[in-house]
Structure formats: C-alpha cells, structure tokens
C-alpha cells in the first residue's frame, strides 16, 4: 500500500442522459398503456378489432356512402342493377324535413315566434348556467317566472278567454287574505307578528295571478296556433323545460314534507313520492290522456299537451323530491340549529340558510333528473303526440323519401340531436360537481 492514496473524485456533475426512448413519448406511452404484458397486448388487439368493426361501417354509412343533396327519394336509391350493398345515409331527406323536425307543423309564417322563444331561452339559460355571471337572482326570476309566460303567449298566440269565475276566484284569494289578516290581528294580540306575511302572501299571490291572467288573455294581435300542430324539437323542449321548471318547486315542497315533523304531511309526501316513483312513465301518460278527462266535471276539457305536461310534472316532481331530500340530508344539523338559534322561523330558515346550500349541493342531481326527463319526453309519441322522435317516425310514411336507408338516417339524426343535448348537460353537471367540490367534503 502506498502512503498517498489517490482518489478519483468527480468535481462536476455527470451530464443528464435522456430517458430511454422506450419509456418516453409515444412509444413509452404505448408500451405502458397498450403492450405492458402479453394479456394486455391481446386485449389491445381485441379492442382495436372491435373498434374497427364498429367505426368503419359507421363512417362508411354516415359519410363516405352518404348522399348529401337531392330532391326526392331517387337521389338516395341504389343505382339500377346493383344489389344495394353500398347504400349510405340519405342526408338529403333530413335536409328536406329539417323544418318539420324543429318546428313540427307550426305555420311557416309564424315560425319567427318559435325562433324568438328559442333565442330568449338560450339568452336566459346561458348566463344562468355560468357561475361567473352576475345578477343570478334577477336572471332566475326572468328565466323561471317571466320567460314561461312570455313563451306561452308567443307560442299559443295568447288571447285565452278566461271565464269571470276565474277573476272572482282571484279576487276571493285577496279577500280571504285580508279577512284572515283581520281575524289574526284581533285574535293574535300585540306580540303576534304573523299578520303582515299572511297579508303579503295572499294579496301578493292574487296580484301576480291577476297580472299573469291579464297578460295571457290580452289580445296582442298574434294569431292562435293550436298545440296539435306543434311538433318536433319544439314539443320536446316545451315538455322537458316545463317539466323541470314546474317540478322543481313541487319537488322541494315534497322533500320538505317528507322531512317534516307533522305526521300527516310526512305520510302524504311519502305516499305521493313512492307512488309516482313506482309506476312507469308510460302508464302515467296513459293516465293523463285517458283518465284525467274522467276526473274533470262535465264540459271542462283540457288541451292534450297540457294533460301530458301535468303527468310529466307530477312524475318528475317525485324524482326531484328525492334528489332535493338528498341535499337536505347532507346539510349538517348545526346549520339548522344555528338558524334556529338566530330566531328564524321555519320558512326563513329554509329560504335563507338551508335551501341555498342544499340546492347548490344537488345541482348535479337536478341536471341528471333533467337529462332523464329530456330522454323520457320521447314517450309522448306513444300517446299520439309528435315530439322530435315522433315527427321523425311519422315522416317515414311519406312516399317522397321512402328509401331503404330512410329509417337508419332518421334514427341516426335523432340520436345525434339527443346525444348533443344530453352529453352537453352531463358534461355541465360534471363541471359543476368539480366546482362545488370544496375540498372539505368527505
């Protein structure tokens, strides 16, 4: 051994080598995700084959072999002599029928009214759906309160004849309110402060009803368009939007009723919810179209669309109630106790403390109910109404466009429309879920 030991110490860092080619970039990704083992490779191959089986014929049908222009069925028929094995989608047929699919048989001269409703709907919905937009309260009042009435007048033409009994009934509500308030102020004594809310509630309801009735019955110079000529996407949207807008308050009321301490209110809510959730929508629609007329006094008739709307609303209200109940249960008890400790009564507590939190929590659930309702609107074709699918189905009887691929094309178009709406909504619900996930939720 020598006295002086020589060390070899490196004073500068070794240069960083690039990662092996097989672990980075496309190759690395493929090695990791597609071919990591023998079984994985087999799965990849099988998956690719399945995807090819599905995608190739679809692309062939919808794009490569498709016919985009034409005047009638001749354009879409297979050429003479061929067996018709290369037939594509007949988009010319969809193009020709497009107005019907969107508006049904709504008179062509009046279509601008439907368009205004569509534009108003989009203008009010988009800012409501974007969390960063201001004026949420005003926006919701416009969307949930004003828009439905404006849309109703625009679509039907307004000028509804309202019997004098209805006006008397409205006046009666106001009178009853004043009477109850008078009795309460006498009976309640000095420390009773329930007179003002009663007065505001009854008289306010009467005033709002009077304004709505006045507007609806006013002659605005619009020609009347009866609901049987409505159709296509218009009917789909009318049923879906009315169903959701009307079922939300009803659902909240039912959910509160189910959690109420009053036994009879709870029992009625439970029976109502479980009944509507236990039967299929189609029987509800049959009920509203066959049985509802029997329930009404002689001479009173309902519009068919309105009957369907009632059925759909009651049905989705039960589902909405369960969604809202989920939200109410998720609110910690401390929130209720805190509100009560502040001296809030039941309704102010619900309105100011509990419901804002609970409803925010269940926005994804509400959107999911809406998606379900939107898809379920197709069922109205069974009771003889023409929603988008019904309109497409009825167009198959037209000999002008009768070709072997007409059905496939029509269904493909319907599927695409429904997919765009539903997928959009489900992405929105996922987005809201992420946004509302505050991090301290278990």
């Amino acid at each position: 051994m020598a006295k002086t030991e020589t060390f070899q110490i490196r004073t500068e860092e070794a240069p960083l080598l690039p990662a092996p080619v097989s672990t980075t970039g496309l190759i690395g990704w493929m090695r990791q995700n597609l071919f990591s083992s023998i079984s994985n490779t087999v799965l990849t191959v099988i998956g690719v084959i399945i995807a090819y089986w599905i995608i190739a014929p679809f692309v062939q049908f919808a794009f490569i072999d498709a016919i985009w222009t034409g005047e009638d069925r001749k354009a879409c028929l297979p050429p003479e002599g061929s067996e018709g094995e290369h037939m594509g989608a007949c988009w010319a047929y969809v193009k020709a029928y497009f107005p019907q699919f969107i508006y049904g048989r709504y008179p062509t001269d009046e279509i601008w009214r439907v368009n205004i409703v569509y534009v108003l709907f989009a203008l009010l919905l988009v800012p409501l759906a974007m969390p960063s937009m201001p004026l949420k309260k005003l926006n919701s009042i416009l969307f949930l309160g004003v828009f439905p009435i404006v849309a109703f007048v625009l679509l039907t033409g307004g000028n509804i004849s309202i019997s004098s009994y209805t006006w008397i009934f409205v006046a009666l509500i106001a009178a009853v309110g004043v009477a109850i308030a008078a009795i309460l102020s006498v009976a309640g004594g000095r420390d009773f402060n329930g007179v003002k809310p009663v007065l505001i509630g009854f008289v306010g309801t009467a005033v709002v009803l009077a304004i709505i009735l006045g507007f609806v019955s006013a002659n605005l110079g619009l020609s009347t368009v009866d609901t049987p000529v409505w159709g296509g996407l218009l009917v789909t949207l009318v049923i879906a939007v009315t169903g959701i807008v009307a079922s939300l308050p009803l659902g909240i009321a039912l959910a509160l009723g189910r959690r109420s301490t009053m036994p009879i209110v709870r029992l009625v809510s439970v029976i109502f919810i479980e009944f509507w959730r236990g039967v299929p929508l189609i029987t509800v629609l049959f009920m509203s179209s066959v049985m509802l007329p029997l329930f009404l006094p002689e001479g009173v008739t309902f519009d068919k669309l309105l009957r369907v709307l009632i059925g759909v609303t009651l049905f989705s209200a039960a589902y909405m109630a369960e969604v809202v109940r989920g939200g109410l249960q998720a609110i910690p008890k401390g929130q209720y106790e805190g509100a009560m400790a502040l001296g809030l009564r039941f309704w102010p507590m619900m309105y100011l403390i509990i419901l804002p939190q609970a409803l925010k929590l269940v926005i994804p659930g509400i959107v999911n109910t809406f998606i379900g309702l939107f898809k379920d609107t197709t069922l109205v074709l069974i009771v003889g109404m023409f929603d988008l699918l019904g309109q497409i189905q009825s167009s198959f009887t037209d000999p002008t466009w009768s070709t072997p691929t007409q059905g496939h094309t029509g269904y493909l178009f319907a599927a695409m429309v429904f997919f765009v709406f539903c997928f959009g909504m489900s992405r929105y619900s996922i987005y809201m879920e992420r946004r509302l996930h505050t991090g301290h939720k278990r």
């Binding site: 329930g194 009053m262 036994p263 039967v279 029997l294 319907a414």
Partner: protein, 405 residues
C-alpha cells in the same frame, strides 16, 4: 330536562295559541286533510258522473269476458277464447320474462364494461367509456326503434335464415329459433335432483364457513357446488334413461312458396319484438350499471389493496376477498334502482307491440273502455313489483352493510 321543565313552568303563559308550533302543526294538517278530502270527493263524483254519461259500468266483471284477440307470445296457455283476465296475466308473465332476461344480461354486460372502464389498457377503457356515454345519452325508445326497425329488418326474410352453432339455432325476420327440450316421464326426478343439489350446496357452504372460522382450513366450496349442481342432475338424467329429447325447428325450403319457412310451434321461438326489446333494455341499462360498478370499485380506497398485498394476498384473492365485498356495499343500492328502472322501462314494449302488461292492457282498454280498472291494474302491479324488489334489496343491503359499533 330540568331546564326545560323550569322553562315551561317558570315562563308566563303564552300570549296566544297562534304562536304555538304544535297548534300550528295541527292546523296545517287539518287544512291539508280537508283539501285532500275535497279534491278526492270531487274526483270521485266527477268520475262517477262521467262514467254514467258514457254508459261504462265500472267494476271488475269485464275480466271474465272473452278477449277475442290473439297474443303472439305467451308463457301460459292462451287462445282467443280466453278471458281478458287471462290475457292480462299472459301480459304480466311476458313483462316478468323481459325483466328477468334483461336484468340478467344487463348485469353481466354492465359489470364487464364497468371493470373495462377501469382497465389500465387505454384502448379497452376508451371503448368502455364511449359505450357508456353513447348509450346512456340516447333515449331508450329510440334504441328500441333502432333495434326493431333498423337492425332486425336487416336479417333474412321469412323464407331464408341465418344459422349458428352447428345448424341448431336460426335467425330470420320471424324470430330466433332453436331446439326445445321435450320432457318425458321421469323427468321430474331430474328437477328433484337439482333441488337436492342446491340444498346440499347451501349446507356444505355453511359447514365450510364454520370449519374455516374454527380451524382456519379452507374448503373448495365453489368447485364442489359446480360439481354438485351440474353432476347430480346429469347422473339422474342417465339413471332415469335419458327422459328428454330435443325438438329441432323444421325449416321447409321446398314445395309451394307460401308454405316455405319455419313450421309453426316446432322448437322454441323468440319473436323479434322480444329480441329487440330485450337487446335495447339490457344494453341501455348496462351502461348505467357500468357506471355504478366503476363508482363502487373506485369507492374502495387504495389502502385496502395495499394492505391486502401487504398481508401477502395475490391479485385474485385481493379482488375476491377484499375489494369486491366492500365495493358491493356501494354498488347494491343504486343497482336495485336500475333493476327497477329496467322493469318499469319494459313497459315501452307497447311501442313495438310486444305483448307485455301495458301493451295487452292497452288492447283491453280499447276494447272495453274500462280505463280506470286497467290503469289501476297496471299501477298496482308495477307498484307491487317495485315495493317487493326494494324490500328484498333492503334486506340484502342490511345483511351486507357495515357492522359498526
């Protein structure tokens, strides 16, 4: 407690009954009952008046009358001379058949797709994702129409066929045909053998669990059960002298053109309406089940897997003994509601005229005008099915639920 007593005793008497929540509660409930009774009375009296005006006698007597219409598929004996009540019963059986077959297929497809969505393999998980998103965002009715009017119209016509499995199963526009087992004398012994085998399996499973709990030794219960359930009836089948033969469907392709095609009532036949409805229902519901399964498996924390691996369990026992039992707890409640949804959605059969409860009921309703009774029967049956299923699933769920202190 004492504070409350003191409070109620010490506080001055309330100024007014109007501020007492108890009194208010009773008041509102009385109002609610009054409104309900009023509405109910109006409905009943209006209905009675309307029925009288339309000359419809309410009551269940019409169920005894002769139906006079045929039903293309029935599990019970039925002919045109049977009564309306029997027709509705046949419809009910068809609803049950679609629901059970649909639930069976949907569960299998749903679990496969749900697990595929969690696969490490990018192609497989993407495929499963596309399946789920495409299927559940398109209305079920549209899918039923698609299967019935688009897919099943593409199969061969009445006088041709596609055959599978050594020429024993056939598909054409008239339906899916296959051999039908014909049982002869002594076949009931095979059924008895099957029941005995099932009972034996339950007993063995219990004994094996007790033994494992006391000694730690495991017993191959699964393979024993497979052997018993398949083996015992098979032995009995040969012992009794093979009392069964297969009745193959007969396809005539000679003779006059009008007589060509499959002979009626030979072999078993699944009508195209049934195929379309079952396919659409099970594929649609499977997409929801897949999401439930994925969520359930993801709900089991990864620490469970790591702990199981740390205990020395391999991949498959980890899944079987640790992950799946915990995932099932999350999966079962929403799975139940999907089963119920499928059962209720089977009522869409009316759109393609498959003779289920709603479809047959609709025919009866049109013929007799007994709207209230028919809709009442529908709702009662679906409600009963719903309540029974949820009761069963609640019981099962309670058994599976976490036992906490």
């Amino acid at each position: 407690m004492s504070v409350m007593e003191q409070d109620s005793a010490g506080a001055p008497a309330r100024a007014s009954l109007l501020n007492d929540p108890k009194v208010r509660g009773i008041f509102f409930q009385v109002v609610l009952i009054a409104v309900l009774v009023f509405v109910g009375y109006n409905i009943v009296s209006n209905t009675a008046a309307n029925l009288e005006r339309q000359n419809i006698a309410s009551g269940w007597g019409f169920l005894e009358n002769t139906a006079g219409f045929g039903i293309i598929q029935s599990l019970a004996s039925y002919s045109e001379t049977s009564s309306y009540g029997q027709a509705l019963f046949v419809g009910f059986l068809n609803t049950l058949l679609v629901a059970i077959v649909g639930i069976f297929i949907a569960t299998i497809v749903g679990f496969v797709v749900g697990i595929a969505r969690l696969s490490d393999n990018w192609v497989i998980s993407r495929l499963a994702y596309c399946y789920v998103e495409l299927i559940r965002n398109v209305p079920l009715l549209l899918q039923i129409f698609f299967w019935y009017f688009a897919v099943l119209r593409a199969v061969p016509g009445k006088r041709e066929k596609w055959s599978f499995f050594f020429d024993s199963f056939h598909l054409n526009i008239a339906g899916f045909r296959g051999p039908k087992p014909i049982w002869q004398d002594g076949a009931s012994l095979i059924g008895i053998a099957l029941i005995i085998a099932i009972v034996a399996c339950i007993v063995i499973a219990q004994w094996a669990r007790k033994r494992q709990e006391s000694t730690g030794q495991q017993f191959p219960v699964f393979w024993t059960a497979v052997g018993l359930i398949i083996g015992l009836p098979l032995i009995m089948y040969f012992v009794t002298g093979m009392p069964m033969h297969l009745e193959h469907p007969v396809f005539v392709d000679t003779g006059p053109r009008i007589r060509q095609g499959f002979q009626l009532n030979v072999g078993f036949n699944l009508i195209p309406e049934f195929l379309a409805l079952t396919a659409a229902l099970s594929i649609y519901t499977a997409s929801f089940i897949a999401e439930i399964v994925r969520a359930g498996i993801q709900a089991v924390s990864h620490g469970q897997t790591e702990a199981a691996h740390a205990l020395g369990l391999r991949q498959s026992p980890t899944l079987r003994l640790v992950i799946i039992p915990q995932a099932m707890r999350v999966i079962i409640p929403p799975l139940t509601s999907q089963y119920l949804n499928l059962t209720k959605n089977s009522s869409l059969a009316v759109a393609i005229a498959f003779p289920d409860l709603v479809s047959v009921g609709g025919t009866v309703l049109n013929q007799t005008g007994q709207a209230i009774e028919i809709i009442g029967i529908w709702m009662a049956i679906y409600l009963t099915l719903s309540l029974v299923t949820s009761a069963f699933m609640n019981w099962y769920n309670q058994r599976m639920a976490l036992v906490e202190r």
